[in-house]
Symmetry: C2
Subunit: 372 residues, 2 copies
């Protein structure tokens, strides 16, 4: 089973009666841009997907563990697209001190991302023990930085922790951190479970979660045997997805990997949604019968939490089919472009898998598109 | 995370102090041999893995829905290896009548396999509604045939059924069938959950389950992002695996697919264990500290349930490393063999992925091997 016929399969009403909509450009508070050739390929797709403001994840190789590294990465991204509003984050590691937090904050870095050791892409540099970071968290609370949590416990079969309950098992840590630092703004990134949604709701205004676009659509059935839908945290039971659909705080968690790294004996974890983000979300929200909430999810709630005061730019979308390409080319020099790109708003490629990124719902049609 | 360093990772004592063992050849009551070139490649691996008696699954294309088809398939297998003792099964479909059951039984077919519609490989011909088969089941009870169940409910997101709870949700059907046909021998194939094990234990002597070799090792962590470990039913929580390790009724569910069908955007479900089965099981049982139970699992319990009266042949295994090949070639004509096969008891290949089968734990060493 795949998502090939998602809009049909879900048997949801795909018609809101609305045919065109002006909406704020997306503020996407969880994006992986990667590095090198992948970075060059992915950055232009951010605006293509309807976003202009993004919170950039720091899990590169090596991870972005100090202010200089983050600012250099920021410059690299702006060189590729100067129109983006970039919210940068640091990677939590022993290198991070209260002094470095003050320096980072003064230079405009907004968040610190915590990856538990070994749970996802490039988390081999992650945190094994939070207790040594109390000074850092205290300073973050003071200078008003955000703590972004990859909220999963590492698998441990002796205590029955595995990918499916790793997020739920992490919630005690979230409660502990909130209790110790009640004014620290904390984001539980890419929540995937009913338990997480309920926990975050119970913890007040300084704790929020992001919900990724694809977790509004997929469950364990859709990634079991489908590497392009495999991500960490993994999508869970249907009732978990239903709980996510009830809430609206932004974050796409678009996470590209090369096709060859997905269709392999050991696929990388991550789902790539950036180039189709706004049409995808408009389609999902219309299907869920709540197109009127689209703006809250794609802009309002996240901007309020991150205290972005400037009014967002807007963009117009239209009820008109968008074909999602089968894949995108990473390095033009090694690939050839599809001979007929005109039936899509996005250039398609027919390159080999070690040179391609396969987007979410590749090869299918979305009901909505962005007006040029 | 993979199973690459399984024996080390589990931190179990791999030494029983026993260095050599005479044991019955494996009676494997759940094997997929496939068809065509794959059949030719797989059949010789059955004896290579230490088995001489196998229950053969009927989910071919087209499925084996009548006696003639099953007997023709049996002949095809025996032409490839006349030393095998074959227990054949029919595929439950509307074609099957009480008359056909009598005919099948008279010709030596021992079981009927029920696949719910759409849950695994070639189950697109499967059963949507069991109620129309009461006459068939009644006749099977009379002539003493076995009903082999793929015990999973099809996914249904409106009722929260997905791959992870599909087996547990099926147990009411198992109880219903046992209640209606208390003398019908029923096998819940490839049990993967604590709930299933407990249910089968509660239903008396006519109901049994098979447990596959790989489900004694892997959990959801090992197939999340690892297509070669992806099978249906999927491996579940660590506590489910622990429950399986407590029980011993045979069945490998070896299910080969071409490498290219596993390392793809939509990997086929199935794990291939046939060529390494006895060394694998000896290694697992030694690690679990119950090498003395090996014979019960690989031969005694299954043969008693299937009422095989003849004493089994024996085979000798030795504590000596076996390197599991990276892959096996399906069609010799299209491939080249590795230049140095001498460090393995099994010929290896270095062919392309559309011509190869990758075995379970490929490229790793097992502590035990079969003595030639």
């Amino acid at each position: 089973m795949g998502l090939e016929s998602f809009w049909a399969k879900e048997k949801l009403d795909t018609s809101s009666g609305i045919n065109s909509l002006e909406t704020p450009k997306i503020s996407d508070f969880h994006v992986h841009l990667r590095q090198g050739e992948m970075l060059k390929a992915v950055v232009p797709m951010i605006s293509q997907g309807g976003a202009d403001t993004i919170l950039v994840m720091p899990n590169l190789v090596p991870p972005l563990t100090n202010t200089e590294m983050v600012l250099a990465y920021k410059k690299e991204i702006l060189d590729l697209d100067p129109t983006l509003n970039l919210l940068m984050t640091l990677y939590l590691s022993p290198e991070l001190t209260p002094e470095e937090i003050r320096k980072a904050s003064a230079s405009g870095i907004v968040g610190v991302k915590m990856y538990p050791l070994g749970v996802t892409t490039n988390s081999q540099f992650g945190v094994a023990d939070l207790s040594s970071y109390h000074g850092v968290f205290k300073e973050m609370e003071k200078v008003n930085m955000v703590l972004n949590l990859h909220g999963e416990c590492p698998s441990n079969h002796e205590t029955n922790v595995c990918v499916l309950n790793a997020e739920e098992k992490f919630l005690d840590t979230l409660k502990y951190l909130h209790n110790e630092f009640p004014k620290l703004r904390i984001v539980l990134e890419h929540a995937t479970s009913k338990a997480a949604v309920e926990c975050v709701k119970s913890l007040g205004d300084t704790v929020a979660c992001t919900i990724t676009a694809h977790h509004l659509l997929i469950t364990i059935d859709d990634w079991a045997g489908q590497p392009h839908n495999y991500c960490k945290p993994v999508a869970k039971f249907p009732f978990d997805r239903d709980a996510l659909r009830q809430v609206v705080v932004d974050g796409s968690d678009s996470a590209p990997h090369l096709q060859s790294k997905k269709e392999s004996s050991s696929p990388a974890a991550g789902v790539f949604t950036s180039p189709i983000l706004l049409p995808l979300l408009a389609s999902v929200f219309e299907n869920l019968g709540c197109l009127e909430n689209l703006q809250k999810f794609t802009s309002d709630f996240g901007r309020a939490f991150y205290k972005l005061d400037q009014p967002p730019s807007t963009i117009r979308i239209q009820k008109s089919p968008t074909l999602i390409p089968n894949s995108f080319t990473v390095s033009q020099s090694q690939s050839k472009t599809d001979s007929n790109p005109s039936d899509s708003s996005i250039a398609r490629s027919s390159s080999n898998s070690s040179n391609c990124i396969v987007p979410f719902l590749s090869g299918t049609q979305l009901p909505w598109k962005i007006l040029e």
